[in-house]
């Protein structure tokens, strides 16, 4: 009846939607595999229930699994992501399973599987969690103290592999019983290079150059969750442009910036135009560029509240963190607050004042606390001792 009504009311649309479109669109398969041999002894699986944005999570872990030289396989639940993983990591075995039935199909063929690793919490993790015979281990995708990082759902896993003690404290401080969840410290293997690099004091890196990296977050689904500094950074960058403090400025905005407030979409263009004149080499990078690449090339950091603070911590240079004034910030608590190891600010004036104190007057008074935070939050020792790879091999 619907199609008949459409034919009568809008024949052109009928032809397009009913007659032409179905033949042009190839339906997505419900399962697919790449380099999968059911006679191979796959013992470790990474499962991601994300769409194509999940590739950034896998980028953190696949290299580590490869370094561990174990029999691994990746399962995706999104066909676009399956294709993206295939293109980027042609040497590994990959599965795509759309629904619970397809997951069961592959699990019946993965008879040697010992453990499934989860980089994020998605509802469709449930289809794997139904497999009682294997270990379920949450590995995450970057340290974060947002409320998404320590909640009751984590209790479904057998183990939670965390960077450092800070994340375990976040669970403790949330006040619920997670006694069945084994917390295992493994450090941040993807930051190993950055940590080694940071052994040179920040002021001596890059032959004395000051290289600022600005990492923003996005404006959030709701006004109450708006932690971005993007609105106030215009004044700051104008001042930096005048004063010429930094030899280099790199900017990486959150991939979702401008998603709710379209005015923020103009920010990258405005910044690029501002720095076209002047001596400071300034670049607004593509949103997709890995943060680690930029962090290694910088020694001063301005961050919004997000996982990038921990990433920047690995570089052991002064970090300036934006704390919005009139927004209730919902964070899980560990023993170290931002203000303990980072220079916090809520206005442009505060930021400029602290930049002048810390950078120009060489008074990095939080340097020691920063070192303490590197161990507490990132698990510096575990990272440098490659604890993650050791744990993978122990399974």
């Amino acid at each position: 009846m619907k199609k008949l009504r459409l034919l009568v009311t809008d024949p052109k649309l009928f032809i397009k939607k009913v007659l032409i479109k179905p033949h042009l669109i190839k339906p997505n398969p419900i399962k697919a595999h790449y380099q999968f041999n059911p006679f191979e002894r796959y013992t470790h699986m990474i499962h991601t229930g994300e769409n194509v944005t999940g590739l950034s999570h896998l980028d953190l872990w696949i290299p580590q699994f490869l370094l561990a030289d174990i029999d691994m396989i990746v399962m995706t639940r999104n066909h676009e992501l399956f294709e993206a993983v295939k293109a980027k990591y042609p040497q590994i075995s990959i599965l795509y399973a759309k629904g619970a039935g397809e997951v069961r199909y592959y699990m019946e063929r993965l008879i040697e599987l010992k453990a499934c690793f989860y980089p994020s919490n998605t509802g469709n993790n449930l289809h794997l969690l139904m497999q009682n015979q294997i270990q379920h281990i949450f590995i995450g995708h970057g340290d974060s103290d947002k409320t998404a990082s320590a909640h009751k759902y984590f209790r479904v896993y057998d183990e939670n592999w965390v960077a450092g003690e800070a994340h375990i404290d976040r669970f403790r401080n949330e006040g619920f019983d997670f006694s069945g969840l084994k917390q295992v410290k493994v450090g941040r293997p993807s930051l190993e290079d950055t940590l080694k690099h940071s052994e040179t004091p920040w002021i001596e890196r890059f032959e004395g150059e000051l290289r600022l990296l600005y990492l923003s977050t996005w404006e959030g689904f709701f006004k109450e969750q708006n932690y971005t500094s993007a609105y106030m950074m215009r004044d700051f960058f104008e001042e930096m442009h005048e004063k010429n403090i930094f030899d280099r400025i790199d900017v990486k905005l959150h991939p979702w910036i401008g998603r709710r407030d379209e005015s923020l979409l103009l920010f990258p263009k405005w910044l690029t135009e501002l720095f076209q004149s002047g001596d400071t080499q300034a670049t607004v990078h593509d949103k997709g560029i890995p943060v680690e690449t930029l962090i290694k090339g910088s020694n001063v950091f301005i961050c919004d509240i997000s996982a990038v603070i921990s990433e920047s911590l690995a570089a052991d240079g002064p970090i300036f963190v934006y704390i919005p004034k009139d927004t209730k910030i919902r964070l899980t608590q560990s023993k170290m607050m931002y203000g303990d190891y980072a220079y916090t600010f809520s206005t442009t004036d505060e930021l400029v004042e602290k930049i002048e104190e810390v950078i120009l007057k060489h008074n990095d008074y939080l340097a020691d606390k920063r070192k303490e935070a590197m161990e507490y939050i990132l698990g510096r020792d575990e990272t440098l001792q490659e604890e993650f790879i050791k744990k993978l091999k122990e399974l």
């Binding site: 919490n121 509802g123 449930l126 969690l129 379920h136 479904v156 057998d158 619920f176």
Partner: protein, 324 residues
């Protein structure tokens, strides 16, 4: 808040619990996750507070709008439950539905809940066998409030047998044959088409039956078992729920000495098994003489599934009030 996220079964699951939530007298909301269920429920129950949330951000809006919310009851273990389970300030309680105690495949994902409310010991044992390490998860037996009226019924003045079967018509003839000496009324619960029903009636008339045979829809079972003496069924229709009715259950075995009850093998000991009219006649004969040797086992088994005491004492409602 009652949360239900199974698009095919949400209406059934909500309806299963609704009366008992309303009877509590405490304000509550219902949260569903598909528009179809939302429309059906709001149309059927226009005075209830029913919310629909599609995405995690919508669930967050619903939670924020319920300032005094502190308990969420889950009817099923679905992927979308994660959107609510991340709220640490809420108490998350799995209550299941009519058949979930024996049909659910218990797995590690159930550890997300704070509490698991069981009909009886049976499901807790099943759960712990599947998942030995449950640490924080608190188990509470609450019975099945839906069975309160059935458990209160009188046991006297019963007559007639209820026949609940599917597809295999030969069972009907065997029952008919066995019943010829007992002349019990036969209430047949089977959705068969009218022509087959008429054909069967005609055949049975030709057999010079003195029995009264009538056909009903399956959902009328509770009304019929209240006064029936026996329940005859096949494996396809056998569920532990039949134990709740408190009358002898006579299970038809298509092949002698072979029975497979994967979800609840232990109830076999509470069933009278029969294969042909002769065996059925022998069982009916003993029961007619008052020799119901499986009565105690049957009651013990029913108690294991549904816990008479907690059901009759309104344990479900009491637990809700403790948690509010």
């Amino acid at each position: 808040m009652l949360h239900s996220a199974d698009p095919k079964l949400t209406v059934d699951h909500v309806t299963f619990w609704l009366e008992h939530l309303v009877d509590m007298g405490e304000p509550f909301s219902i949260l569903v996750r598909d528009m179809g269920s939302f429309k059906k429920l709001t149309s059927r129950f226009p005075r209830l507070q029913i919310c629909y949330a599609e995405a995690p951000v919508d669930v967050e809006s619903v939670v924020n709008a319920h300032e005094s919310l502190n308990v969420v009851l889950y009817t099923s273990n679905m992927p979308k439950n994660i959107h609510l389970l991340r709220f640490n300030h809420l108490r998350h309680i799995f209550i299941g539905t009519k058949n979930s105690d024996w049909l659910s495949s218990f797995n590690k994902s159930y550890r997300a809940y704070d509490e698991f409310w069981a009909g009886g010991e049976f499901v807790i044992d099943r759960f712990k066998e599947a998942i030995p390490h449950t640490a924080h998860l608190k188990f509470h037996i609450v019975g099945k409030p839906q069975l309160q009226e059935i458990f209160k019924k009188e046991q006297n003045s019963r007559k007639g047998l209820v026949l609940l079967f599917d597809s295999d018509e030969s069972i009907l003839y065997k029952v008919y044959g066995a019943n010829r000496f007992f002349s019990e009324d036969i209430h047949i619960l089977n959705k068969i088409n009218k022509s087959t029903e008429n054909k069967l009636k005609d055949i049975l008339k030709v057999q010079s039956s003195r029995n009264n045979i009538s056909f009903y829809e399956k959902n009328m079972i509770e009304g019929l078992v209240k006064t029936a003496s026996y329940l005859i069924t096949d494996i396809k229709n056998l569920t532990p729920y039949l134990l709740a009715y408190g009358i002898p259950i006579l299970l038809y075995q298509p092949e002698k000495h072979k029975i497979d009850l994967p979800h609840y093998p232990e109830i076999e000991s509470s069933l009278y098994l029969w294969h042909d009219a002769e065996e059925l006649e022998a069982v009916l004969g003993k029961l007619a003489e008052g020799d119901d040797e499986l009565k105690m086992i049957r009651e013990e088994m029913a108690d294991r599934f549904f816990n008479f005491k907690f059901t009759l004492n309104n344990e479900f409602a009491k637990r809700i009030l403790i948690n509010r």
